[in-house]
Amino acid sequence: MAFSLVLCHLFMIVYTPQSNKMRADSDGMECHVLVIGSGGAGVRAAIEASAYGDVVLVSKTIVSKGGCTPMAEGGYNAVLREEDSCEIHFEDTMKGGAFLNDPELVKILVSESPQRMDDLILWGAVFDVTDDNKVAQRPFGGQRFPRTCYAGDRTGHEMMTTLVERLDGLPVDILTETTVIDLLKEGDRVVGAFALDDKGDSIVIKADSTILATGGGTRVFDISTNSASGTGDGYAIGYRAGAELIDMEMVQFHPTGAVFPYDARGRLVTEAVRSEGGILKNTLGERFMKQYDPERMELSTRDVVARAIATEINKGRGTKNGGVFLDVTHLPREQIEAKLPVMLEQFLKFGVDIRTEPMEVAPTAHHIMGGLRITPRGETTLPGLFACGEVAGGVHGANRLGGNALAETQVFGKRAGESAGRSEKRVRNVDLRQIEGQQERLSRFLNGSVNPATVARELQLAMWEGAGIFRNANDLRSTLAMVMHLPASDLKAVSARNLSECCTIQNMCLTASLICKSALLRPESRGAHVRTDICHAWDAQTSPFAHTYISHARQGIERRSHT
């Protein structure tokens, strides 16, 4: 069995489902800008929006501790040197993204990322510096210049700490450990959100503008690098509200996830290990990347390296634990200790001294490149709703370059915060029927019958098997059917506090279905999306296809006009 089974316990507890209640203070909760999510994007957006009016920041987790941003290890891409240029960063990003990226968003990313880096430095970020006191940069896969700025291998944590310190000094109301379960609307317009606090009590927050910054969702796969909040809430919440999502099939499988201990499988082994000089070997001792990308070797793009490792493992050249070797033992100890302290510490805890022994790694679901369709101002297709960070789509195309996501959180976090802040103040009305609808949804959970954890497990295993690194139409269809049949509306909340869990698992199911549907919509292999059942003559540059799109109203794939 892949997951933990419980044998016995001493007594059974009989629950009378407590119903949840509306929080007394929730009636008056109104603000100009509501930000949902406290990762790099959400906090950056809140900082910016606070210049224009009162801001409420809601997060599932404690603000400095939530999401994937504090886990980001490798770095932040910014053009900082004379010898580098935004044009090269643009080209690298487009090429890495298999030319599916929205070029306008990419232009903004590369040109504003250095300024956002300056903000971080001004606010106290402690990035590594060179001997001549410049922000140090390391090479990352798929980039022609070493432009990835870093703070050891705890870059995201450094950013998060800095951002939260900045936020501390601003008049932003923070609701921690509060889960948004849906958006509220007035006609087409998003006018706030419905949330549950850590006791399971309901809160209605009305806002002139709402920013979704809920991060990614690769927890829908069995093996994932994501934090516990990477459950795709934002995709599902946005979709249910009627927003359009693009390229949801584009899921990045990071080549190097840990395989041991099994219960912590998928934990990221940062790309910085390879950029510091780590090499990949199969059990025959072969440096196999020379068969897959002899030029870039280990520093090829993530899709290529992930497929190479998966192929080696499938061909029987993997380790007992189901991985290949990633080796840094040839590097000086001091380099490992100074540049990869988190990796060193994590592996030591798990019984491997990476200074003297190789690591074992295998691909792991890492990042969702797709997401809500946004304009350069961070507007979604719904009025009143903005999105930024991993929940938004279009910046990374079919494959994200390492270091571009952290930059994205800052560049588009600021933009969304500013746009939302500048939006007009309105009379805030919420149709009470929506709230009743939510209450009904919740009371169904209190009377439900299926253990949410079991549904989550089934979903994760099915997605890894049928919608993982190598895909085909048959498997995608059967996975989709399986996902659609999961009893997501009959989940059981044993107490009011478990209601948000049920909502989260519903969101996982919906996000998974969007991934499968979009994967079926794209009849080509492109970047991270590999369809083994389809052969085509075109390459990424000449592909006739652009974004897939999906919403309540429509779904399909855009065609490109080639000049």
Binding site: V6, H9, M71, T161, A228
Partner: protein, 488 residues
């Protein structure tokens, strides 16, 4: 798969007045962490179990709990059969979830200057070791000073130091930190020892801030008096009776006719020299009886600990040089300490001394002792912070004590005498001493044994039980043995 039986603290504020420990048996995969055990309970036995986690990889600091009493990150600590999982010692909200916000809000944030001053590499390098804090609050949960004063705590002090080092920050963090309780820290080292990121807060933040405070003239008057005394006399206390060094010769031969088991220098330290000379004399007897050849250079001076702990570093190097030269010139390979504070200072604050430093408990267990008579006494042992955490010495004194009396354990908490707190913050020291006294009372022991003059002196004021040094109790055992053999 492995099967684990564990005990988990449960508490529901809606229905319970106090928590209870509930047994569970789960199956997890080999190498599973504590967090995976909690998942297994939650997913398959009781969904109401509340616990916090997010990153699952030691990076977010959400998941700290106590396992068998010790604060750890649930996502990193390997799960073990029989373990007891409890919340951190902070206000419990429910089950394993504690209130973190109050202490997180206490952590200061950078106040940027109007224009950017880009920090230089050496400044970045100085800040970095303090920056990896994931705000898990393990440190806060064990800090004794926070329990009895308004001290903002180790996590907040770490941040004040980090800001004090940053040229981008515009506030006076030194004055802030003094206001926030900088001088209430007892240097007990508990925070550092439980920190999952191994951040040496007492040495790298608190003592450094105290040194900055000293430059600003903010050192407490009582601490200044001690520094003046050391400067004048080479000693941190005044002479009120004949000192140990005045009472012994420079060379003490072991008793008996056999070859000495070892020769070592003896560093007595101010307290045993001038406040508890009798105890040091007892120790000499025990050592001689057990074949140790002792050299006691008379020109030794204060180790500097009272100055380091309080941030008064002016004459520190002179003291270090003098002590090192004193023992080096005797050609000694090993120098023995019996004061936990001196031992910790010589081991941790003296850079590469040309000899090995051993605590007396290490010496006696390493070379072995003649069995003393077993006295009909129940004793409890107080772990001196600077012995347990400063030097990692836990088992050795217990091994010695068990040979002479019955030992009853009590929790290893700070007695409040360290870090200049006894002189500078007497109320705090008394409050901590009182707690220590209560724990002693609970054990029902007849006597308290310790191995540090500060602890012995301080605890004696907070218990009605006699407080004795390990060596003195051993000596009593020998005397009893000798008495019996005379009778026979």
């Amino acid at each position: 798969m492995i099967r684990l039986s564990v005990h988990v603290f449960r508490f529901d504020p809606a229905t319970d007045t106090s928590g209870r420990i509930v047994p569970y048996t789960v199956e997890v995969n080999g190498g599973a962490r504590v967090l995976h055990v909690l998942h297994a309970i939650h997913d398959s036995i009781d969904q109401t179990l509340s616990y916090r986690y997010c990153c699952g990889s030691g990076q977010c600091g959400s998941c700290a709990v106590r396992v068998n009493g010790e604060p750890v990150l649930a996502c990193m600590e390997e799960a073990r059969d029989g373990m007891v999982i409890e919340p951190l010692k902070l206000a419990v909200k429910r089950d394993l979830v504690v209130d973190l916000m109050q202490n997180l809000d206490a952590i200061a944030f950078l106040a940027p200057r109007a224009e950017l001053v880009f920090p230089a590499k050496d400044e970045i390098d100085a800040i970095k070791p303090l920056r990896s804090c994931i705000e898990c609050l393990c440190c806060v949960s064990v800090c004794p000073a926070m329990d009895v004063t308004n001290f903002l705590g180790p996590a907040a002090m770490r941040q004040e130091m980090r800001l004090a080092l940053d040229p981008r920050d515009s506030r006076d963090r030194i004055t802030d930190s003094v206001k926030d309780g900088l001088f209430t820290c007892t240097s007990c080292q508990a925070c550092w020892k439980v920190c999952p990121k191994d951040i040496e807060i007492p040495g790298k933040a608190i003592e450094k801030l105290r040194a900055f405070a000293n430059k600003k003239g903010l050192t407490l008057p009582r601490h200044q008096e001690v520094a003046a005394l050391v400067k004048e006399t080479g000693r941190s206390v005044t002479r009120i009776e004949p000192t140990f060094l005045e009472q012994v010769g420079e060379v003490l031969e072991p008793y008996g006719t056999g070859a000495p088991k070892a020769t070592m220098g003896f560093f007595v330290g101010c307290m045993y020299n001038m406040r508890l000379p009798k105890t040091a004399l007892d120790a000499m007897e025990v050592l001689r009886r057990n074949g140790i050849h002792i050299i006691i250079p008379k020109e030794q001076v204060c180790c500097g600990s009272p100055l380091i702990r309080t941030g008064q570093l002016d004459i520190l190097d002179a003291l270090k040089r003098k002590n090192i030269e004193t023992f080096r010139s005797r050609g000694l390979n090993t120098v023995m300490t019996m004061c936990a504070g001196c031992g910790s200072t010589l081991k941790n604050d003296y850079k590469n001394p040309p000899f090995t430093i051993m605590d007396i408990n290490e010496v006696l267990t390493k070379y072995g002792i003649e069995p003393p008579a077993h006295l009909p006494i129940r004793a409890t042992y107080h772990d001196p912070c600077h012995l347990l955490r400063g030097q990692g010495i836990r088992e050795q004194p217990r091994q010695l004590i068990r040979q002479v009396v019955d030992l009853v354990e009590m929790p290893a908490i700070c007695c409040g005498s360290g870090g200049g707190v006894k002189s500078g913050m007497p109320d705090e020291a008394a409050a901590l001493g009182k707690r220590r006294g209560e724990e002693i009372q609970k054990t029902g022991a007849d006597i308290v044994i310790s191995s540090c003059p500060f602890c012995e002196f301080h605890i004696a004021g907070h218990t009605d039980k006699p407080v004795k040094n390990v060596a003195s109790v051993l000596l009593e055992g020998y005397k009893e043995k000798d008495k019996k053999s005379v009778k026979n």
